[in-house]
């Protein structure tokens, strides 16, 4: 029977999938989960960065004499599946630590799972402040500079503009909302007479660019604070350029200097915006040049910011494992307290007080060179310089999170 044959082969596939994988003795397994299918532009280079780091570490003999093995999974782009995948990594694959996630809600759900099941989790990319502050827990650390930190990095430029009328445009979910809330609070403190003339909260991935750009122009702001990224940013920039929305206006923009979001703009790049980002071809520090050379040699492609995040995630875990020797979650949690890690951006530390890494970001102005977007007049801002003090974050974290 044809139908029977199909059924048998289906049963075979399922059985093969359920059988437990063979465990090797001399490897340390690191679990990683991320929304590879819903955020490919960032996560494809991210994965390459991770693989490069694994190759480098194992090439030098691994960690504590054991090879590192990365078990990477798609989290399906939603928290429910992410938690199941996390459980699968822990119970079936026997990983010693979890890492990864991109969107804030998935990062929070997995962090909460880690706290509940007492598993070590290094949140690599999600930016929400809540992961390390309001919803922080003992078992969760985070690598990327948070929404709060990136906004704070842009404040000197925003304040220097002496603009009175600000327009705000942001994707309508946790990341956009909290960036704008932080921005409003900080700029009001520096400039009490500031006025917010329009507030455009747009659905993520569904920006109505023409109408939004026009509404901002009609509000006649002196300056614009932008949190849009990805396809929304590209649409917004093209419409804004054609309609002259950015002319003679200061624009301060989160993440827009990251190659993932800057490169698609090409000749459309809005020159003069102050942004956080990663000017990969212009950073001449020895750490970065070494990374860049190795990356380009392996992939014949240039790194994006995702590559840095992926690479540094693995390097962080390796540093933590090397420090503790033990493989249980509690030892790793202890090892990460104050842990120093060498990254392509230089050395940084995981703070014991709120489990946040002090890895910073580059702040500069967008420029156009040979028809391609790049950053100019940039400098590296150390994350430690924009984070609140240990005493302040202690008040933000729940009791018993340290």
């Amino acid at each position: 029977m044809r139908a029977q044959a199909y059924l048998y082969s289906l049963a075979f596939v399922l059985a093969a999938g359920l059988a437990a994988p063979a465990a090797a003795q001399d490897t340390i397994k690191i679990g990683e989960l991320n929304s590879y299918k819903s955020q490919p532009a960032f996560l494809d280079p991210y994965k390459k960065g991770m693989e490069l780091a694994i190759e480098e570490i194992n090439g030098k003999g691994g960690v504590n004499g054991k090879k590192l093995e990365l078990v990477s999974r798609d989290d399906g782009g939603n928290p429910g599946e992410a938690v199941r995948v996390a459980e699968e990594l822990v119970t079936r694959e026997g990983v010693v630590a979890l890492s990864g996630t991109f969107l804030s809600n998935i990062g929070l759900a997995v962090a909460n799972f880690a706290g509940q099941k007492k598993v070590f989790f290094l949140a690599s990319e999600p930016l929400t402040d809540k992961i390390t502050w309001a919803e922080g827990n003992k078992y969760t650390y985070r690598l990327r500079a948070t929404t709060y930190m990136q906004t704070a990095m842009l404040m000197p430029a925003a304040i220097a503009a002496h603009a009175k009328r600000w327009a705000l445009v942001y994707p309508n979910y946790e990341y956009g909302q909290s960036a704008v809330a932080t921005f409003k609070e900080m700029i009001k403190k520096a400039q009490p007479d500031v006025e917010f003339v329009t507030d455009q909260a747009t659905p993520l991935g569904k920006l109505d660019a023409g109408a939004v750009a026009q509404a901002i122009d009609d509000a006649k702001p002196d300056a614009i604070f932008n949190v849009l990224f990805g396809p929304d940013l590209a649409k917004f920039v093209r419409e804004g350029n054609t309609r002259g929305v950015f002319k003679n206006r200061t624009v301060v923009s989160l993440l827009s200097g990251e190659p993932e979001y800057l490169d698609p703009l090409g000749a459309e790049t809005p020159v003069g915006w102050t942004v956080t980002g990663y000017p990969w071809d212009k950073i001449k520090t020895p750490e970065h040049v070494a990374f860049l050379t190795a990356y380009q040699k392996k992939y014949s492609d240039y790194p994006r910011l995702g590559s840095i995040v992926g690479y540094t995630t693995v390097k962080s875990l390796a540093a933590g494992l090397a420090k503790t020797k033990a493989l249980d979650a509690n030892s790793l949690v202890e090892a990460f307290k104050g842990l120093y890690v060498q990254s392509p951006f230089g050395a940084f530390q995981y703070r014991a007080s709120d489990h946040q890494a002090t890895m910073g970001a580059f702040v500069g102005k967008l420029a156009l060179e040979k028809g391609k977007g790049t950053m100019d007049d940039f400098k590296y801002v150390d994350g430690a310089s924009v984070l609140p003090s240990d005493a302040e974050v202690a008040k933000l974290r729940p009791a018993g999170a340290n």
Partner: protein, 632 residues
């Protein structure tokens, strides 16, 4: 705000409406003639943008851009024809809606193929040669390309209108929309007609996508965004009416432009940010239109499709063999915690499967025996899940009390939405349920102080002894068995017979004194309530709940499970949910391109089992000469 500003925003709305119109018109034509709910239409639109990008940048210049757009439309049209010939033609005789499963698989395959061909980066095309600048209107700058879009949509609308009204092909299409069996009986070659309609619809989608190349980057999320918008436009306009589609596109785009133009308004006691309404504006419009005009603005009641599929056999109580089989499965499940001691993940997965089974079975209850195709069943899942989570977090309920109360929250939602939904039928009912689900989703997403907004509610873990995975599994098993038995009891009670009578022959059912609407309303409510159980279990299994639990993709997952198992049998949803949940878990680990693999597997299943897996098994057992099976 000045009048000029408002008028100008109206122009912005018109140019956005053009984009919506092209994709909606194609979808509407395809549905009208073939009755296929083509979920892959957004994927064809996305392909249009990618192909046009490649032609515009590889060939370059005015020819690469403008010629590229025309060429793209033709290429996508050919792709559409191939899809119809190779895939859809084989499953026209399957039960209603089954083709949806095939097009869902195509969405997965096309998305991964696009990723493989064009890479992960967003690709912003060049500006349109000749129309790169802006023109001054009302003291503001309107991109000349937008002005071009404002005129191209009505132009295409007029051409299509005359093609449908005056040509032989158009007459055949209109005839097929009204009564396709009659068209077939009159000797018209249906295969050619269907293929050309599908190609035409795909061509319009490709054209729409290609025209966007100067406005937005080609990116991999376009397919789902576009299909969501297109469904709304088609339904608001009236299925099969392209003029309606244009009208609806304008209304929706204008409402959004207006929300954006109004911005933040201080109403004295409360400050409202109207720009946030763009999240849900189209669904509110759709709900209002469908409640006021059940067939959309310019739609007509659908013609009846006669005897395309094999007529459905009445459901019968389970055969003794099936009962024994069910008991064996139950015993095995009860022993699972012992069997799975060495691999604890099996219990985690099995719990997820049980939740999926409750979800799918409750959806099947209204889809199969009730004949109400709900495209928004996730609403009740989400209401149950949020109900349970918030009762624990805010009201301090203990876990079990929350699990028992959660279905009541879902019940209230289903009673409210069901009352409106059962007044419609067919695809309009499906779309109204979808609109309600989206409204619930938006409410949960926006009401940050209460629901936690996009982050959701976290830290909802089961209390001891259920914090052990084996104990939670057994709890979920108990709920699943109860849920299935309760639904079964309803189906074999007079209530269930009345519900099926209302589905198969509403007029006769009314004539013998059955209040069909009331029965269907209650059926809808029961299904929603049972679905709430699944939601509650889900919240505690994951320790958190966020708006994704109410998203369209969860509703679609439910449809896929029911159709995969077989809509005409009672074990169908159980088999379908189990297979789909395990399959997804397994496939996600196998390859980077897991979505394409999942899509291909579903396609194979679709072609092998046009009645669903359980449907095929019961047909097999009938063929082998046993007593007819097909019931749980």
């Amino acid at each position: 705000m000045t009048l000029n500003a408002l008028l100008f925003q109206a122009l912005n709305g018109l140019s956005t409406a053009s984009g919506l119109f092209f994709i909606a018109a194609g979808l509407s034509l395809i549905f009208g003639v073939t009755r296929i709910v083509n979920i892959a239409h957004g994927s064809l639109y996305m392909l249009g943008t990618y192909i046009a990008y490649s032609l515009a940048t590889k060939i370059g210049g005015a020819f690469g851009f403008w010629g590229g757009i025309v060429l793209t439309a033709l290429i996508v049209g050919v792709i559409g024809a191939l899809i119809e010939i190779v895939l859809l033609r084989r499953i026209y005789r399957a039960p209603e809606l089954f083709q949806l499963l095939a097009t869902f698989a195509l969405v997965l395959v096309i998305n991964d193929a696009t990723l493989w061909l064009w890479g992960p980066e967003d690709l912003l095309g060049p500006r349109a040669p000749g129309l790169a600048g802006a023109v001054e209107i009302f003291g503001r700058r309107l991109p000349s390309y937008d002005l071009f879009l404002i005129f191209i949509a009505p132009a295409v609308l007029i051409v299509l209108h005359f093609a449908l009204a005056k040509t032989r092909f158009g007459r055949l299409m209109r005839a097929a929309t009204q009564d396709r069996e009659m068209v077939g009986a009159l000797g018209v070659n249906q295969a050619v007609l269907f293929t050309s309609v599908f190609a035409l619809g795909a061509l319009l989608a490709g054209l729409g996508g290609a025209l966007q190349v100067a406005r937005e980057p080609a990116n991999l999320a376009t397919d789902l965004v576009a299909i969501g918008d297109a469904f709304v436009v088609v339904v608001v306009g009236g299925m099969g009416s392209i003029t309606g589609a244009y009208l609806a596109a304008i209304i929706i785009a204008e409402v959004k432009a207006l929300c954006i133009a109004i911005g933040v308004v201080n109403l004295g006691f409360v400050t409202v940010n109207f720009s946030k309404f763009t999240l849900v504006a189209e669904f509110i419009v759709m709900a209002i239109v469908l409640i006021a005009r059940p067939y959309g603005l310019l739609g007509k009641p659908q013609g009846v499709v006669r005897s395309v599929a094999e007529p459905e056999a009445p459901i019968r109580p389970a055969t003794p063999m099936l009962k024994v089989l069910g008991a064996v499965v139950l015993v095995l499940l009860l022993a699972l915690p012992l069997l799975a001691q060495t691999s604890p993940y099996v219990l985690v997965l099995a719990t997820d499967v049980l939740i999926a089974v409750i979800f799918a079975t409750s959806l099947h209850f209204i889809m199969g025996p009730g004949g109400m195709h709900s495209f928004g069943h996730a609403a009740y899942f989400g209401l149950g899940a949020y109900g349970a989570a918030l009762l624990v977090k805010l009201a301090g309920f203990p876990m079990l009390a929350a699990l028992f109360t959660a279905p009541l929250v879902a019940l209230l939602g289903a009673l409210l939405f069901g009352w409106f939904a059962v007044r419609l039928s067919g695809v309009y009912l499906a779309m109204l349920t979808l609109a309600f689900a989206q409204i619930v989703w938006a409410l949960v997403f926006q009401w940050e102080g209460f629901t936690g907004g996009s982050n959701g509610v976290i830290g909802v873990w089961p209390a001891a002894p259920f914090n052990k995975s084996w104990a939670y599994f057994l709890l979920a098993l108990a709920f699943t068995v109860i849920a299935i038995l309760v639904l079964r009891r309803f189906l074999f009670a007079p209530f269930g017979y009345a519900m099926r009578a209302g589905r198969d022959s509403p007029l006769r059912a009314e004539a013998i004194g059955i209040d069909v609407k009331r029965i269907h309303w209650l059926g809808f409510a029961i299904a929603g309530c049972v679905c709430g159980i699944a939601g509650g279990l889900f919240a505690f299994a994951k320790g958190s709940i966020s708006p994704e639990a109410i998203s369209v993709s969860r509703s679609i997952d439910g449809l896929v499970m029911v159709l995969l198992g077989g809509i005409q049998t009672l074990v169908g949803p159980i088999v379908g949910a189990s297979v789909y949940a395990v399959l997804q878990d397994t496939v996600m680990r196998q390859t980077e391109y897991w979505r394409a693999l999942l899509g291909v597997i579903i396609l194979v299943l679709v072609l092998a089992f046009p009645q669903g897996i359980a449907g095929a098994l019961s047909a097999l057992s009938r063929k082998l000469g046993r007593k007819p099976g097909g019931a749980a």
